[in-house]
Symmetry: C2
Subunit: 333 residues, 2 copies
DNA sequence: CTGTTAGCGCATTCAG
DNA sequence: CTGAATGCGCTAACAG
């Protein structure tokens, strides 16, 4: 059934040269006479030879793959990012391994495993709660943080505080003064950063973020719906809500509409992320766009550069966000 | 900076045994005396030794990773499936590599690369348009189709025709007779299968699928919105629409609502997939649920079994779908 | 139970 | 420009 695949020896024999020459003809074509190169290539065609990556990598001391550590693979937020990563990694000769950090009972152990096993040439880490390898005092391949960040590690992030400020200012400019905020999980760097940006923009207008109007969520749809229930229970309801993720905005609007509240008639809603469905909701969701594909692409580039330079350090990059005006925000009253 | 990691030699020296014993103590603890095992383990602790997977895999002739070939990684439909895959692969000792088949200009070449390079122990293929490796006459690791299928290859699929039939019957039972269908891309196995299931259920009721009422989409949101434009242009409008994916249903409903058409007041809409957002739309989308996480998990199990048995063949599995009644379908008129 | 001996398949010295 | 020799780091036979 499974005919054994041709080895470099077979090619060498068929083309009448040594295995060393075959290897060179394939890896460094210019260092070989044209005639022999052709002979080798012909033999490669004939045998269908493809170098065994395991052996090649062992010899070259590189694995040809990079690992993305994402918290909750099931979150569709990452799909575009992974796609961006893949689209630059693939042409650069790297495969993309992905692992779910949430699924893992013991992230420390697993991380240690990845670090030392020589399984990957680099890592893109989307989860700031993972232990910092530098602090673990161990050898490890280049590592880049993305979306979330931590310490001085190189990273690709979005301007979260500014995005939140833009969202709040948009609400303010539309005439809202009574503004609520649905946050991500407390302690998360994105949550805190957006919270701070929102509070700052509010302060500029002489307003503050009421505790009663700050609902803690977890970035997921269901938590947005829960926040809606809390909003509904309020005697004194804010006229606008800034949700720290589109998913939460979606859950929030959905639950409100189920309860017979009009959006944006009775409450304006603004999200964060600009997930694909945002523009197709009713009303279409006004939000802060986070260019997820770009994040993936930039992360891949930066990481590949670090690998090329054999450096654990590298530049960080901050990507701008953008207000996308749609229909879920209007003037109050 | 990057201290060189300890090798098996270091552990052997430190614990006063041979490298072979170290290897055994780690891979087959029971074949080693307890006292030596302890000594080895202690040395491992001390040195922080982690076996180099490249060398180990070269020797064992396995790679420890399996590859998922998905058409369009950016499609969030796959995120749950990947999560399911990962959750069983990880404990089974496999890493998950993912590659986007759409992004690749020459899938044949890349596929050949994966097959022969010994990079992976198995593949899960979500794209039926890829060439069949068996027909390519080459050695390759076990392969399992998922979601889509092709020829006699082992697969994990959902009962697409039945799901479509259930959707149509639900519309019929609600009193609809004038039913439209928004399909996936023509030629796609899922598209054809759902089309056939829908036509069958319609035929049972003495009805047929009108060409004028069959809109071709591509499973994406935008194509659903385009279908809505065509529905709006109809002089004689169907009272219900079966969309072959939730994303299309979402785009369809959104565009209709923008145009001032009430759902389900003027048209009932039913989708397929049950993506997470479906229940949070307004109206909440009635749909056919496809258990995506289960699909991933089952695929992983079947593939691991094939690998364990060193077999290119294996059982196929069909997973049941389920009608999720929500609010986007009601009686006409 | 343990050490010795051979490679896994390839890329890279080092001579010629 | 090419070939012969030498491991990459580890595990599987095979003896002892």
């Amino acid at each position: 059934m499974r005919q054994k695949t041709a080895g470099i020896q077979d090619v060498a024999r068929l083309s009448g040269v040594s295995t060393a020459t075959v290897s060179r003809a394939l890896s460094h074509p210019e260092r070989v006479a044209e005639s022999t190169r052709e002979a080798v290539l012909r033999a490669v065609q004939e045998t269908g030879y493809v170098a065994n990556s395991l052996a090649r990598n062992l010899r070259r001391r590189r694995t040809g793959s990079i690992l993305a550590l994402v918290p909750n693979l099931a979150n569709p937020f990452f799909s575009q990012i992974l796609s961006g990563l893949s689209s630059v990694l693939s042409p650069a000769g790297y495969g993309l391994l992905i692992a779910d950090t949430l699924a893992d009972p013991d992230p420390r152990a697993r991380l240690a495993h990845y670090f030392d096993s020589g399984l990957v040439d680099g890592l893109v880490v989307f989860d700031a709660t993972l232990p910092d390898p530098a602090l673990m005092q161990r050898a490890h391949p280049p590592l880049l943080m993305a979306c979330e960040w931590r310490g001085e590690l190189p990273s690709v992030t979005v301007d979260n505080a500014e995005g939140a400020a833009i969202a709040i200012r948009h609400l303010l400019e539309s005439g809202h003064r009574r503004i609520a905020h649905v946050t991500g999980p407390r302690g998360n760097v994105l949550t805190e950063s957006r919270l701070q940006g929102a509070a700052g923009a509010l302060a500029e207008a002489g307003l503050a973020l009421h505790d009663d109007w700050t609902f803690t969520g977890d970035f997921g749809i269901a938590s947005g719906a829960q926040a809606a229930a809390r909003w509904l229970a309020l005697a004194d309801r804010p006229t606008a809500v800034f949700c720290a993720s589109d998913e939460m905005a979606c859950g929030f609007m959905g639950a409100l509409q189920q309860a017979g509240i009009a959006v944006p008639g009775e409450v304006s809603v603004i999200g964060f992320d600009d997930i694909e469905v945002a523009g197709h909701l009713t009303p279409a969701l006004t939000t802060i766009r986070q260019p997820r594909r770009d994040i993936g692409e930039r992360a891949a580039h930066l990481l590949v550069d670090m690998i090329d330079q054999r450096s654990l350090m590298g530049p960080s990059e901050r990507i701008a966000v953008e207000l996308i005006r749609r229909q879920s925000v209007k003037s109050p009253g």
